[in-house]
């Protein structure tokens, strides 16, 4: 009898652990699906849903300036998904994308040999990886972004590391993004452990926490504020925000990484931003990228 009890209990313990082990992304999935529901509801018909989502917009704006009936994958285009005027200008610029040379330079950097005779191919044999980062590295108990992985590769091969925000870093990432887009890859962020889930949660908390002297959170503009106008620009939505980086920003007159954009956003909130290699930044990007899971990679791209 006792043997039977022991057997049953062991079986139960094992199955509970296995079930739980495969479920580390349960909360993240719940968040992601709730976010999709929110944005699909918000941009289904802005005029009809004015009281809920756009109380300060004019009828004319809601009627004429928005694309309606948007579904999940449409949001991969950032605010050009719903912004009629912005999309028209975007499509004109896309006829001769200013970042094409950057992709070529990124490819040249990928193939260039280091002083030890190796190249980036020794660290990244697969170039269609833009949707796989950031990832949680269990052995090191930390989030690894693509930028840091690139710098780790340089250091491993006795080369100097690059700046995380622009220049060579952005160009090589543009090449990876382009290769991933051409291969029709999706954002595919994994949460495979309790520690990874905790890192995701910290990133989420950072995103939703009000900060800076303006007391704004990222969500103030890119969830509740998405679609609303700041001066003459419409704020983009969190959903799909990481699919198209690095971007060629007209304001920068060049290509920049997601870290560069986030540093700018946090400064705009009125707080000294965390560094691109800090735990805060890595976990923030981990959360943001997870929210775009399942969406097509669409980078590099253009933004104002």
């Amino acid at each position: 009898m006792l043997l039977n009890i022991v057997k049953t209990t062991t079986l139960l313990v094992l199955s509970t652990c296995i079930l739980h082990a495969g479920n580390f992304n349960a909360q993240a999935e719940k968040d992601r699906l709730a976010l999709i529901d929110y944005f699909e509801a918000k941009f289904d018909d802005p005029l009809k849903n004015r009281n809920t989502f756009f109380p300060y917009s004019t009828d004319e704006e809601l009627k004429n300036a928005f694309v309606t009936g948007l579904k999940h994958q449409d949001f991969a285009k950032g605010n050009y998904a719903f912004n009629k005027d912005g999309k028209a200008q975007y499509e004109e610029i896309k006829e001769m994308p200013p970042y094409e040379d950057d992709i070529d330079e990124g490819e040249a950097l990928y193939n260039k040999t280091f002083s030890n005779g190796k190249s980036f191919a020794s660290c990244f044999p697969n170039t269609q990886i833009a949707g796989d980062y950031p990832k949680y590295v269990q052995e090191e108990q930390k989030v690894l972004t693509l930028g840091i992985a690139i710098n780790n590769c340089l250091l491993k091969n006795k080369e100097k590391k690059w700046k995380m925000s622009k220049g060579k870093m952005a160009k090589l990432q543009a090449f990876f993004a382009y290769e991933s887009m051409e291969a029709n890859k999706d954002v595919a962020i994994q949460i495979n452990s309790k520690e990874a889930a905790a890192a995701y949660e910290r990133g989420k908390e950072y995103y939703y926490t009000q900060r800076g002297y303006l007391k704004l959170s990222c969500a103030s503009c890119h969830i509740q504020g998405a679609g609303q106008r700041v001066r003459n620009e419409k704020l983009s939505q969190l959903l799909g925000q990481t699919t198209h980086f690095p971007v060629y920003r007209l304001k920068w007159n060049g290509l920049g990484t997601l870290e560069r954009r986030m540093v700018g956003c946090i400064k705009d909130e009125g707080q000294v931003p965390p560094s691109a290699e800090s735990k805060y930044m890595k976990e923030l990007l981990y959360f943001m990228a997870y929210m775009s899971n399942g969406m097509k990679i669409d980078g590099p791209d253009i933004r104002k």
């Binding site: 009890i5 009000q210 800076g212 969830i223 509740q224």
Partner: protein, 151 residues
């Protein structure tokens, strides 16, 4: 009897396992730091230059901004970190200047404010950054769709 014992054991082990395996993220989120007891401070009083004097307000600004920096919460405005405001106030006190210069990230002058106003701002920024972070520990979920944010 055997059946009851069996069921009891199963229930207990399941409960233990679930609680042991559960993520501790919520507990971490509710762990509110004290930031040197900043919650009880009233910015309008502590940072009032007229009543407290520039030196006392500057001392508060310096004390709490150190905590803000340590916790990655330091405020900045018009391209200047709060610590730069504090340095500029200290320099003005030494030189006898009555104004401090606002510099952008390229160190180009973009304006100036009175010493008193800069001191008030430095103190208010330092304390508010910490109080805001404390408050956010219990409010951030209110903005999460599918959690505290209802529409």
């Amino acid at each position: 009897m055997k059946k009851q014992l069996k069921q009891g054991l199963m229930l207990v082990s399941t409960a233990l396992l679930l609680s042991a395996c559960a993520s501790d993220s919520e507990k971490m989120a509710m762990n509110i730091p004290s930031y040197g007891g900043v919650a009880d401070l009233k910015v309008k009083n502590v940072c009032n230059v007229e009543n407290m004097g520039v030196k006392s307000v500057l001392a508060s600004a310096t004390k709490y901004n150190v905590l803000a920096i340590q916790n990655d919460l330091e405020f900045m405005r018009l391209g200047m970190r709060n610590s730069q405001y504090i340095s500029a106030i200290n320099a003005a006190l030494k030189s006898g200047d009555t104004n401090i210069t606002i510099l952008n990230k390229k160190k180009k002058k973009t304006g100036s404010v009175s010493l008193e106003y800069a001191t008030w701002r430095a103190c208010a920024f330092a304390i508010s950054s910490l109080q805001q972070a404390q408050e956010a520990k219990t409010t951030w979920r209110l903005a999460v769709p599918g959690d505290g944010y209802k529409y």
